[in-house]
Structures are given as C-alpha cells and as structure tokens.
Symmetry: C2
Subunit: 209 residues, 2 copies
DNA sequence: AATTACTAAACAAACGTTTAATTAATTTTT
DNA sequence: AAAAATTAATTAAACGTTTGTTTAGTAATT
C-alpha cells in the first residue's frame, strides 16, 4: 500500500497530537481538524484509530534495524568507538523523531498488551541482543571489562535520553535557557548529553585501571 | 479535610488504574466499579476527575520534601555517602510508589499546563536545588570534581530508575527472570540497580584519579 | 430535626465508526 | 478521441456508546 499525501498528513498530525495529549487524550476529530481532512477519512484510510497508531509504528520502526546491524559489524572501528557511534545514532534518532518517541514511551508504560506493545517488545529484544554482541566483541578484544550488565547499561542510555526528551520543556526552564532559540538550544543540549553519556559508558565499560 | 476509608479506596484504585491505562484511558466508572463505590461518590468527594488526580498528587508529594532537606544537612556523613543515601532513598520511594510514579511520568510527558504540571515542575526545581547544594558541599570539601552538570546527573538517576519502573514487565521478560516470584525479583533488581547507579555517580563525581 | 452519606437514574456532550450520497479520477468501450 | 461505465475519494449526517457530571430522592448518622 502506497502512502498518499493526505495519509501522510494524517499520520504526522496524529503523531504530534498523540505525543502532546496522549493516545486516549486525542480524538479522531482533533486529528481530522488539524490535518484539514474529513473525520471519515481516517477510518477510510486506516480502518480505525488503533490501526492508525499501528501504521505510525510500522512506518517508524521500519528502517532502524538494518542500520544498527551493519554498524556493529563494521570492522574499521574499535568496540568503544562503535559504542560511541551507537550513542550518537540513538540520540540523533530520538531527537529527529521526538514525537514518535514520546508516543512509544507512553505506550510501553501502559501495562496492557496490544499490537504495538508486542512490536515494541520485539524491537527492544532485538536491540538488546545486538548491543550484547557488541559488548562481547569488546570483551574478547580486551577493551571492555568482564562483568557488564547489558540491560542496565541500555537502561541508563535510553532512560537518560528518554528523561531529557520527555521533559525537555522542564529542563529548559529549570536551567534558565529560555533565551536560546530552538535550534540553538537543541544543539547545546545534544552536545552536552553526548559527552555525558560517553563518559558514563567509558567508566562502566573501559578496562583501563 | 480528613480522608475517610472510602476516599482512600477511591484514590488507591484510581492510582492503579491511571498508572495501567493512563488518565484519559481510565473512566470514572472503571474506578467506581473497582473501588466498589457509586459513580457519584467521586464527584461528591473530590469534585471532579481532575481534582481526584490533584488529590492523589498532593497526598504523595506531601512528605518527600522534608525528608530530603534534613538528609542533606546531616553532618555525620560524607558528601559521597549522602549521595548514595539519596540514590537509595529515591529508589526506595519510587519502588514503593511505582503506580504513582508512572502517573507522574505520563503527566510530565504531556505538553500541556495543568495544575499537576506546575506541581511537578515545582517539586523538580526544589529537588534540583537541594542536590546542587549537596554537590557544592562535596566540591568545597574536595571530594567531588569541579565541573559537574547537576541537571544531567539527575537525569541519569531519574531516567534510569524511571526506565526500569515504566518497563518492568519488559525487563523481566527480556532477561528471563519470570521464574522468580515478585518480591524475589524486586529485591534482585533493586540491588543491581543500586550498585549500578552508585558506580556511575562515583565515576562522574569522585575526584580520585 | 438536621446534616451527611449514599444511590439509581438522567443529562448533555464527546467519542469512534458507519452510512448514504456526491464528486473526482480512472478505465473500458465505442 | 469522445462517451460511457467503473472505481476511488470525499463529504455531511447519523449511529449507538461512553464519557464526566448532576439531580432528586433515600438511608444513615449526628
């Protein structure tokens, strides 16, 4: 099924509204109005509200996987370098798709099983396996320590970035950065966060005494 | 206003349902049914659905503040020890009130200003100020490094714990820990997380080369 | 006797979805 | 290439539920 302009407009509008007001806090009429389409078009194109959410998830999770796999198998970088690339890639992805990421955060918080819930779990499982592979590479080459808790490491990376993305508006106010414009602010916080995470990873992973 | 048994039942039920299904995903009738009270009682006692949420927030944020303040002024502990106590206290609090914490997470994710939104922001600002104070103590005594980004440090602590709490059910499955019973599992993960966070904090804060 | 706690029923508004009718685009037939 | 037939896109209105809240009346407590 090819995606027309109108379908894309619906999906993008829905993404923003779901992120800001939650899935249940957003009505079909809200979306239709903001995307400037008739209410019936959403059922017509996607079938239902939930299937619209699914469509958004499928579109967003499509490309991410392949990217990660090839990066890990890259022979030209050291394990620690790869880990740093991973951090920057993950950050970039989430900054670029912050609305979608916020939807994902609220969906995985909900304690109910839905089509998207299992989609999220699958993605996470795959990602964790890949990172585990990368950690093992580093351990074999002697670059990394022996006892690494991969799930906890992932939790720190994802959790820290997540915390920043989900509470951006708070962070800015808490640190008196309102005078910076949006792009300036984003650049600033990205640089800071990247350095921060890398130093944490180095401290946890690195074998130097 | 004193809280009767029935009001408490409503608040506790609401807390769990809000956490599991989201605020908008939970209806007044859901709460009334599960708490075994008449639908009208919720409006009668709390005024509205939103005021019920506010009541839950006020009850939960009441005691936390005083506790933190006295802990930081404690002269018998070193700055690093205090930081470790802070980590354990924060973890304990969130584990004990995981439902409430999940509600808070979804509320601070929403990009809209509500009574609870400003309540959250206030609490965060206060907490961050207190931690900043503690960091300065450590810097004056020479225990901590000079350049510490307090907001980022907080983000890592809260983010990591948050990530664990909001995705507990995932974590358990991802690490094949289903055979452990609930209390056993909680004990296990708490111990792990505590060590993990402390080693991160030590790496970031400590002045030893 | 008067206030408080509680209930079942009703309220209007909003919800996601469907229907039936109309317009636009595409394909088939002349 | 023009006309007719067919399919797809779009609309306004209506559907039946569910939503949060209120009302008017009853039972319990003070």
């Amino acid at each position: 099924m090819e995606i027309t302009g109108k379908q894309l407009a619906i999906m993008e509008t829905a993404e923003q509204l779901f992120a800001d007001n939650g899935y249940d806090g957003t009505s079909i009429r809200d979306i239709a109005h903001q995307a400037d389409v008739n209410v019936a078009m959403i059922s017509y194109y996607f079938g239902s509200k939930e299937k619209l959410l699914q469509a958004i998830f499928e579109k967003r999770t499509e490309l991410w996987r392949v990217h990660l796999e090839s990066m890990i198998e890259d022979k030209s970088r050291s394990p620690m370098e790869k880990m740093f690339v991973l951090i920057d890639n993950y950050m970039q992805k989430i900054f670029d798709q912050s609305c979608f990421h916020r939807i994902m955060a609220q969906q995985q918080m909900a304690n109910q099983d839905s089509p998207v819930a299992s989609l999220i779990l699958d993605t996470k499982r795959r990602n964790q396996d890949l990172v585990k592979k990368l950690v093992q590479q580093g351990q074999r080459s002697g670059d990394f320590k022996k006892n690494i808790d991969v799930p906890l490491l992932m939790m720190t990376m994802m959790g820290t970035i997540n915390q920043l993305i989900t509470t951006q508006h708070h962070y800015r106010e808490l640190n008196n950065l309102q005078d910076l414009d949006d792009t300036e602010y984003k650049k600033h916080i990205k640089k800071k966060l990247s350095t921060h995470l890398k130093s944490i990873f180095k401290a946890i992973l690195s074998n130097e005494e």
